[in-house]
């Protein structure tokens, strides 16, 4: 019976203040749509940097005079490192073959290179590209190791840029969330103000504070969820009509995201929307409903 009362009151309020409800809903929709877009952008960035980062590998070039024992020992040592995901040996012959393959358009180059001039190497795939320099410094100077190459600077720069992008978008998201919360708090305040007589009487006859609060909190949550649905709908539409089509015409860039990511964003928006609905109305009620 209580539940029916709470929902009844909440929806009566929403209907009574149609205009305010619409205003709150649409502001939540706009801010959560922006939040969703930032998350979507973030997902695309993470996906592409993930792809680049995944391509990062460490090349350990070996001296020509390395003994098979030293080589064996080195391989064991590398595989034993916790950061290492996979290690592949590339012999001199394999290196030359790859070299030929890479420059097959310029035979002058491949013909003038001695097949034995290229060093043998270990190619290391890492779990996390951030550990590249640490692994490299441990390998440099080992017997039989000529040089270690991991494209150090460019990786660092790449990670810095993506890290900065993530931070900036997080700050942006934080600001938007605060704005949405304040807007919900405002609409709830108006709803409370419109019903101040009723609330005064409720307090007078001894309604418990939660009994008074719950309909308003439900109202805030309902507004937020409605706004979230709208925002989610726009984002799904954007994926279908914009990103997927763009991806079809530019296949080599990672421009779209899969349904699991979209669903995840939708779920997050819903959780965040519900939360700011509750927090916003909580804020609005704190001042008005003191005993």
């Amino acid at each position: 019976m209580k539940l029916a009362y709470f929902f009844g009151e909440a929806f009566a309020n929403l209907r009574r203040n149609t205009l305010m409800t619409l205003a709150a809903m649409s502001t939540v929709a706009v801010s959560l749509f922006l939040l969703g877009s930032v998350m979507l952008g973030g997902a695309i960035i993470t996906q592409s940097t993930g792809r680049w980062e995944g391509e990062v590998e460490l090349n350990v070039f070996l001296r020509d005079e390395i003994t098979p024992e030293q080589s064996k020992e080195l391989e064991t040592a590398i595989s034993a490192m916790p950061e290492v995901q996979q290690v592949i040996y590339e012999s001199k012959e394999a290196a030359f073959k790859e070299f030929q393959e890479m420059f097959k358009e310029s035979p002058a180059l491949t013909e003038n290179v001695d097949p034995t001039a290229l060093p043998a190497s270990y190619r290391i795939k890492l779990h996390n590209p951030n550990s590249a320099s640490a692994v490299a410094s441990r390998l440099i100077g080992r017997p039989g190791v000529e040089d270690v190459n991991y494209g150090g600077e460019s990786i660092k720069r790449l990670l810095k840029v993506t890290g900065l992008l993530k931070t900036v978008s997080l700050v942006f998201v934080g600001l938007l969330l605060a704005a949405a919360t304040v807007l919900i708090a405002n609409t709830i305040k108006i709803a409370v103000y419109a019903r101040r007589n009723e609330i005064g009487i409720m307090k007078l006859v001894g309604a418990s504070n939660w009994f008074i609060r719950v309909p308003f909190i439900l109202e805030g949550i309902a507004e937020a969820i409605a706004g979230t649905m709208l925002a989610g709908l726009v984002i799904v539409t954007a994926k279908l009509l914009l990103l997927d089509r763009l991806q079809q015409s530019i296949p080599f860039l990672p421009l779209t995201v899969g349904w699991p990511t979209v669903l995840q964003i939708f779920g997050t928006l819903l959780a965040v929307g519900t939360l700011i609905g509750a927090i916003g109305s909580g804020f609005a009620l704190r001042k008005f409903l003191e005993v």
């Binding site: 019976m1 209580k2 009362y5 007589n197 009723e198 005064g200 009487i201 409720m202 307090k203 007078l204 006859v205 001894g206 309604a207 418990s208 504070n209 009994f211 008074i212 005993v291």
Partner: protein
């Protein structure tokens, strides 16, 4: 039933509303609380409802020390104390029946109780024929009856009435008084703050007079003024 012990109330701007007030009100008593505007009558009532905290002293209502009462238990206190005001405080968008039912709904009483008690209570105050009217279709006296029905429908042991006849003509005021006396006779402790000399003098109940925040008189079967005519104050203090 109600006991104040050396209660003082000083507001933030160092306005003293009550000074060292002690008062004992027994179960089933009917007490007129009189005094000019600003004498502390309203503060007295606010303290009993824990709408305000006393600066000093202790207050017991219905056997409980209300200073010790946790905030979240204040609603429990208010369910023990019905309230009636000069301006009725009815919800204009609800019918008479809904106004009274509201008081039970919001404290979570089950539907069958509400459906049984509301018409019963409205019959008691003589409004059985106006169940579906709205407050603005009623006279002032009828509106005050609705507000009394709302205050009493939960059967509280105490009724506080703050200037209940303040907006009513003498004849209607008399009717409201008779209703309050009947409620008192059926076992409810009634405290009524008032300016109305005629009523106080006519009904001869216990009179507690406040002046500048002090009790200057506490008299069984008293009249409004000690002697001579008193100035008639305007509005609620």
């Amino acid at each position: 039933m109600i006991r104040l012990e050396n209660v003082s109330k000083v507001y933030k701007d160092s306005v003293v509303a009550l000074r060292d007030v002690s008062c004992d009100i027994q179960k089933n008593e009917f007490v007129f609380l009189v005094g000019p505007s600003g004498s502390g009558k309203s503060t007295f009532i606010r303290l009993l409802l824990k709408e305000d905290e006393p600066s000093e002293g202790r207050i017991w209502v219905a056997g409980k020390d209300i200073a010790q009462l946790a905030r979240w238990k204040v609603p429990q206190l208010r369910r023990q104390v019905g309230c009636v005001f000069q301006d009725f405080k009815l919800l204009t968008n609800k019918t008479v029946r809904e106004n009274v039912a509201f008081a039970l709904e919001v404290i979570g009483r089950p539907k069958h109780v509400i459906q049984a008690r509301v018409p019963e209570m409205l019959e008691l105050v003589g409004l059985a024929h106006k169940l579906e009217s709205r407050p603005d279709e009623l006279s002032g006296g009828e509106q005050q009856r609705v507000s009394i029905a709302r205050a009493m429908v939960n059967r509280p042991p105490i009724l506080l009435a703050d200037e209940p006849t303040g907006n009513l003509d003498p004849a209607t005021s008399g009717d409201i008084m008779k209703l309050l006396l009947r409620i008192n006779e059926s076992g409810t402790t009634v405290i009524m703050a008032t300016h109305d000399h005629a009523i106080v003098d006519q009904f001869r109940k216990r009179v507690v007079e406040l002046e500048n925040g002090k009790i200057v008189r506490d008299q069984a079967r008293g009249v409004y003024g000690m002697g001579g005519p008193q100035p008639i104050g305007g509005g609620t203090p």
